[in-house]
C-alpha cells in the first residue's frame, strides 16, 4: 500500500463532540470537508493522504526510467500513459488533501524536507524491462488490495478519489501482468529476466503493507475512524493468496521456500520479509532513496522560475484588465 505506518494523532477535543462524530462514522456516514472533525482525524488524514499522494508521484520515477527504452511503440505508449495516470492520481490526492486545509506546496515542502514519507517500494531500482511487468503486476496489485477497501473510507474526498484511482490501477495491474506473460513465454533470456524481476520485487511488495499492526493502538484508532479498513496482515495475506497462483500460471517461482498451502486458513503460509531492510529503506538507506528524492527536488527547484513566470504573467494580466476597466 502507498501509506505505511500511519500513526494516529490524539484528539483533545470535547468528548461529546467526539462521541457524536464517532457515531456518524459508525452509522456509515461520509465526512465532508466543511464539517466538524476532530483535530486528530484531520491531521492523521493529512499524513495518510499526503503520503499516498507523494507515493504516486515518486512512483512515476522507477517506471519513468524505462519510457525512453520501451521495446515497441505500443509498449512505449502504454507505459507513458501509465506513468501519466500516476501523476493524475497524485493530482486527485493532493486535491483531496487540500480540502483538509493544507496546500499542495506545503505538502511538497514536507516531502522534499523528508518530513513526510512515500512508500518504501519506490526506493528499489528498475533494472530490466521485466521490471515494468513486475511493478505493474505486484506493486499496482498490492496498491489495489489496500485501495479497494478505502473506497469505503469515512472521508468523502478521499473515498471518491479512491474510486477513480482504483479503476485505473486495475488496468495497470493487467498491463503489468501482460508484460510478465510475454516475458515468461518469450526467449530463455526473457524468462530469466521475468524470474529475476519477481525475485527482486517479491519481498519489497510484501513490505508495502507495513509490519504487523494487529496490536497497534494507532491502527485501532484509524480503524475506528474508518481511515484504515483492514489490518496490514489481512491485506498481505490477501495479496499473497491472489498472487501465488498468478505466478504459477506464468511458470515463475515465488522466491520463498516456506510457501505452503494452509488448508485450515484457506490461504498460503509464507515467509515474512526482512523487516530490518524495510526500516532501513524508510530511514533513507534503500538502494534509490537519494535518486528518487533528488529527482523530485530537482524537478521542483528547476521549475521554480517557470511557476514564478506564470504567476507574474497572471498578475500583470490582472493589473492590465483593471487598468483597462478604469479607463
Amino acid at each position: 500500500m502507498y501509506a505505511q505506518m500511519i500513526t494516529s494523532e490524539k484528539s483533545s477535543d470535547d468528548p461529546e463532540l467526539l462521541a457524536a462524530f464517532q457515531a456518524r462514522i459508525d452509522r456509515g456516514e461520509r465526512i465532508e470537508p466543511k464539517e466538524w472533525m476532530p483535530e486528530g482525524y484531520r491531521k492523521t488524514l493529512i499524513r495518510q493522504i499526503g503520503q499516498h499522494a507523494h507515493s504516486e508521484i515518486v512512483g512515476q520515477l522507477p517506471e519513468g526510467n524505462w519510457i525512453t527504452r520501451a521495446p515497441t511503440l505500443e509498449r512505449k505508449q502504454i507505459l507513458l500513459a501509465k506513468v501519466q495516470d500516476e501523476a493524475g492520481h497524485g493530482l486527485y490526492l493532493y486535491s483531496a488533501c487540500e480540502t483538509l486545509g493544507i496546500s499542495r506546496d506545503e505538502l511538497f515542502d514536507r516531502l522534499h524536507s523528508g518530513a513526510m514519507k512515500y512508500s518504501s517500494i519506490f526506493n528499489y531500482p528498475t533494472l530490466t524491462w521485466a521490471d515494468m511487468g513486475a511493478v505493474g503486476w505486484l506493486v499496482d496489485g498490492a496498491a489495489i488490495m489496500n485501495q479497494v477497501p478505502l473506497q469505503r473510507t469515512s472521508y468523502g474526498p478521499y473515498a471518491r478519489a479512491m474510486v477513480r484511482i482504483c479503476k485505473e490501477e486495475s488496468f495497470h495491474q493487467r498491463q503489468g501482468y501482460t508484460i510478465m506473460m510475454k516475458m515468461a513465454q518469450g526467449t530463455p533470456e526473457q524468462k530469466a529476466m521475468a524470474q529475476d524481476a519477481l525475485n527482486r520485487f517479491w519481498y519489497p511488495s510484501l513490505m508495502m503493507f507495513g509490519p504487523s499492526d494487529k496490536d497497534s493502538v494507532h491502527s485501532a484508532q484509524n480503524m475506528a475512524w474508518k481511515i484504515k479498513i483492514n489490518t496490514n496482515d489481512e491485506l498481505r495475506q490477501r495479496f499473497v493468496n491472489e498472487t501465488v497462483p498468478q505466478a504459477r500460471y506464468l511458470g515463475l517461482e515465488v522466491p520463498d521456500e516456506n510457501l505452503t498451502w494452509n488448508e485450515d486458513k484457506q490461504g498460503w503460509d509464507f515467509s515474512e520479509p526482512d523487516w530490518s531492510e524495510f526500516f532501513a529503506v524508510l530511514k533513507g538507506d534503500g538502494p534509490c532513496n537519494e535518486e528518487r528524492l533528488g529527482a523530485r527536488r530537482k524537478a521542483w527547484d528547476d521549475g521554480e522560475w517557470f511557476r514564478d513566470g506564470l504567476t507574474a504573467y497572471a498578475e500583470k494580466q490582472a493589473a492590465r484588465r483593471k487598468a483597462h476597466a478604469a479607463e
Binding site: I57, Q60, L61, G64, I67, T68, R69, A70, P71, T72, L73, E74, R75, K76, Q77, L80, A81, V83, Q84, A87, G88, G90, L91, Y94, W129, I179, K182, M183, G186, T187, E189, Q190, A295, K298, A299, W300, D302, G303, E304, W305, F306, R307, D308, G309, L310, T311, A312, Y313, A314, K316
Partner: protein, 257 residues
C-alpha cells in the same frame, strides 16, 4: 493511392520525415515524464508525447505499406540507424530547461500545424486521413505551447531571459523545416504535399504574432545554419537517442515484447 509519376522511394522517404519528426520529438518530450515543473505540466507533456508517438505510428504504417517490403512501424522505429532517419535537426536537440522545451514545441508545432492542415487537402486520401486525425491534436499542442511562450516571455525578468535564450539557441535550426529538396518538390508537384514556401509564410505570421505578444525579439541570425537532418545528416544527439530507444530490440533480436 499514389500518383503514378511519383516513385515509391520518394514517397517513402517523405513519409519517413513525417514519422521521424513525430517519433523523435515524442521521445524527447517523454523524457520529461515524472520531472515536470508542476504536476499539470507533467501530465500535459506526457499527453503531447503520446500524441506524437501515435502520429509516428500512423506515418510509419503507411510508409511501410508504400515500401512494400514487409517492414512494420516498429521495424522502422527500432531497426534503422541514424543516417536513415529523416527528421529535422530541431527535434533531436536536447530538451534543455522547460523554457527551451516549450519554445521548441512552439516553433515546431507552428510548422507542424500548418503542414498538417495543408495535408488534410492532399490528393492522396491516406495522407489526408492521417493528417486530419493528427491536426486536431497538434492544434491543441500549438495553442498550449504558444500560450506558454507568451506567458513566460512576458513573465518575470528571469523567465523572459530564459525564453529569449531558448529562442536564440533554436533559431539557426528552424530554417531546415522550410528548405525544400527534390523530394519535397516531387511531392508538391504530385499534389500530395504543399509547397514549403507556403507553409513558411503562414509559420512566419504565427511566430511573429506570438513573439510580439511574448515581448521576445526575433533573433538577428540566419535560421538555416543547421540543416541536413531531412537527408540523414544529423547532429551527434540523434545517435544517443537511438542507442537508448533501440536498446532492447538490438540486444535481443527477434524477441517479442
Amino acid at each position: 493511392m499514389v500518383a503514378l509519376d511519383l516513385d515509391r522511394q520518394t514517397l517513402f522517404d517523405w513519409l519517413l520525415r513525417l514519422g521521424d519528426n513525430a517519433l523523435i520529438l515524442g521521445h524527447r518530450t517523454s523524457e520529461w515524464c515524472g520531472h515536470g515543473p508542476a504536476l499539470e505540466e507533467d501530465i500535459a507533456l506526457a499527453n503531447t508525447a503520446l500524441d506524437l508517438i501515435g502520429h509516428c505510428q500512423m506515418w510509419y504504417t503507411l510508409a511501410a505499406e508504400v515500401e512494400g517490403k514487409g517492414r512494420t512501424a516498429d521495424n522502422l522505429a527500432y531497426l534503422r540507424d541514424a543516417i536513415q532517419f529523416k527528421n529535422v535537426k530541431l527535434v533531436e536537440l536536447p530538451n534543455g530547461d522547460i523554457g527551451q522545451t516549450m519554445m521548441r514545441e512552439f516553433l515546431f508545432n507552428a510548422f507542424h500545424f500548418e503542414l498538417l492542415t495543408a495535408l488534410t487537402g492532399s490528393t492522396d486520401p491516406k495522407v489526408s486521413e492521417i493528417a486530419a486525425k493528427a491536426v486536431k491534436e497538434v492544434a491543441y499542442q500549438l495553442d498550449r505551447a504558444s500560450d506558454l511562450v507568451v506567458r513566460l516571455g512576458d513573465g518575470t525578468e528571469e523567465s523572459h531571459r530564459r525564453m529569449q535564450a531558448a529562442l536564440d539557441y533554436l533559431w539557426p535550426y528552424v530554417g531546415e523545416m522550410f528548405l525544400a529538396d527534390a523530394t519535397d518538390d516531387a511531392l508538391a508537384e504530385a499534389g500530395i504535399a504543399p509547397r514549403l514556401t507556403d507553409i513558411q509564410t503562414k509559420w512566419e505570421a504565427i511566430v511573429s504574432d506570438t513573439l510580439d505578444e511574448a515581448t521576445l525579439t526575433r533573433p538577428d541570425r540566419r535560421p538555416d545554419v543547421h540543416t541536413g537532418g531531412k537527408q540523414g545528416r544529423h547532429t551527434e544527439h540523434l545517435g544517443y537517442i537511438l542507442a537508448e530507444m533501440q536498446f532492447l530490440q538490438r540486444a535481443y533480436p527477434g524477441a517479442e515484447w
